[in-house]
């Protein structure tokens, strides 16, 4: 029986086996969006017609394959994600839709003439696009509190944020509206909402997946990646997305390296350590408990302090402000009033960043990266909390971390920002406990080791430590008692 809880792998198998048609799957998904999304505000556009057309094409292809069985074409199969619904953060180009990137300003742009590379990859894999998803304006935030389009709500407690900036993506997956979604991560925008919505998320190595056809934020730090409710779905999506793209200037992957074949290889021989120091000093007890649970399950007793991580976070902050401000300088000059009040003054200030600060931050990035790569000589995997705490309430301007009051919107990225700063691959594994809001742990490895972090995630899922059940919202009062 295929339903909201079904994984992408199950759906693809059921479609390929004829237990269900792709059209039936997509109609059920669209129906669920119609019923549920009014409360969650994940979607900013639903591509109903395209979804039905893509699903019908999958069914037609299957019928053709059946008809040809026994002929010379025997052996041809449906592509790996045939009939699997998915949706994308609204900074991905979708042919025929205007790429909003969470803004009002971009409404004036013409519709995209073709799909982003990763959307085209999903289509080639047989996946069916349901629509475009809510985000912080121009990806500058960790809460998806978008003034133009309204906040995305956390499916586990709609009074709380979904995290951001890919909040619509994580919330859609957590609510069972799609088994897979795509998002972007510059400083934590895949990992923070994965943690707060309790789903799996992959931020690959910087330069691994093509960004062509996605709206940029900070070119030096921008990554794209998938969300899912299982490690195998995450790996299946990641495998489908890999594509050697000479036209993305940052693309530098050494090879196409599928993760699914070795996903169940286990962790024997892996040297796993907990990231101490900064990563523990900026986390609440609930986040530290989550890391401890994962470390216990993996037998990771070692702790490694990564020196100068607070400075790494500061340097990422400066680079982000400067490149983000520079990107939007023409609109800041001409129509600052049209920006979201939640991002406008951050962009304006960022545009004024002196070159000396920016360049020193970039040079520090090289230095910090070299130090961390040294650590990976005798360590394979590092563990750190993905967010300092659970999801905050929508509209909550500040939160307490380690006894200090910090602004919520930048503060949720304290633990993700130093890692994306140097482009390391990370899977966030979600931990759920009855009656509590979910929280995630980052599984971090050396560059290009996505298959390794996915393997660790698969083991944690198999051991029952990590999971991503479809959300059934908690009563607001009980959730709030335990989230602080």
């Amino acid at each position: 029986m295929i339903g909201a809880e079904s994984s992408a792998v199950e759906i693809a198998a059921a479609v390929a086996g004829g237990q269900v048609s792709a059209l039936e799957v997509v109609r059920a998904a669209l129906d669920r969006i119609d019923r549920v999304d009014g409360k969650l505000n994940c979607f900013t556009a639903i591509t109903r017609e395209r979804a039905l057309t893509e699903a019908a094409a999958v069914d037609a292809k299957r019928a053709l394959l059946l008809k040809n069985s026994g002929t010379a074409k025997t052996g041809e199969t449906l592509p790996p994600l045939a009939g699997v619904p998915y949706a994308v953060k609204n900074l991905f180009d979708v042919q025929g839709l205007t790429t909003l990137a969470g803004s009002k300003i971009n409404r004036g742009l013409p519709p995209a003439r073709q799909d982003a590379v990763l959307v085209a990859r999903m289509r080639a894999a047989g996946a069916v696009l349901l629509g475009a998803l809510n985000m912080d304006e121009y990806a500058y935030g960790f809460t998806t509190e978008n003034t133009h389009y309204g906040p995305a709500h956390n499916p586990h407690d709609p009074s709380r944020t979904a995290g951001g900036s890919s909040g619509g993506s994580a919330a859609a997956v957590a609510a069972g509206l799609a088994p897979i979604a795509l998002g972007s991560d510059t400083n934590g925008s895949i990992r923070v909402p994965s943690s707060l919505c309790g789903v799996f998320g992959l931020k690959p190595t910087y330069g691994r997946l093509s960004r062509r056809g996605s709206y940029p934020f900070v070119a030096s730090l921008d990554h794209l990646g998938p969300f899912a409710r299982s490690a195998s779905d995450l790996a299946a999506a990641y495998d489908a997305l890999q594509f050697a793209d000479a036209d993305d200037p940052a693309y530098s992957a050494p090879a196409i390296e599928p993760a699914l074949p070795g996903l169940r290889a286990g962790i024997a021989g892996l040297r796993i350590a907990v990231a101490a120091g900064y990563f523990e000093e900026n986390a609440e007890p609930v986040a530290l408990e989550a890391v401890a649970s994962v470390a216990r399950a993996l037998g990771a007793g070692r702790r490694i302090d990564i020196p100068e991580t607070a400075r790494a976070r500061a340097a990422a902050f400066v680079i982000t402000a400067s490149e983000g401000g520079n990107l939007h300088l023409p609109d800041l000059k001409a129509r600052a009033h049209d920006f979201d009040p939640l991002t406008r003054e951050r962009f304006l200030a960022g545009a004024l960043t002196p070159a000396a600060w920016y360049l020193q931050a970039q040079r520090f990035r090289s230095w910090y990266r070299a130090q961390v790569l040294e650590l990976f000589r005798d360590c394979d995997v590092l563990l750190a909390a993905a967010t300092p705490r659970h999801a905050t309430r929508i509209g909550q301007g500040t939160m307490t971390i380690a006894g200090e009051e910090v602004p919520t919107r930048p503060g949720m990225g304290l633990l993700t920002q130093p890692i994306s700063f140097i482009g390391l691959p990370v899977v966030v594994v979600p931990l759920h406990r009855a009656g509590r809001m979910p929280i995630g742990v980052q599984i971090i490895a050396a560059p290009w080791k996505e298959a390794l972090v996915l393997r660790v995630a698969a083991l944690l899922e198999k051991e029952g430590v990590a999971s991503a059940p479809v959300a059934s919202p908690l009563p607001s009062s009980s959730a709030s008692l335990r989230a602080h």
Partner: protein, 70 residues
């Protein structure tokens, strides 16, 4: 971690914002100015952490992390 040096004074922040905005030709509306100053002060605080770190002359920018350097 707190920067070792003292933080820039408000008047230095204001002067820098005014001068940089003028030379860039970036008008800042009066109602946006308090937020811009607060954000610029935050960037200045972060930048100070970076600037006070002694970094060798040999350390270059490396925006793309190619495989052979990993």
């Amino acid at each position: 971690m707190k920067p070792a040096q003292t933080r820039p004074h408000c008047h230095e922040i204001e002067a820098t914002v005014d001068a940089s905005a003028a030379i860039l030709g970036l008008p800042i509306a009066e109602e946006h100015m308090p937020g811009v100053l607060a954000n610029f002060e935050r960037i200045a605080y972060m930048a100070q952490l970076v600037m006070e770190f002694p970094i060798g002359e040999e350390v270059e920018l490396a925006p793309v992390f190619s495989h052979d350097r990993c």
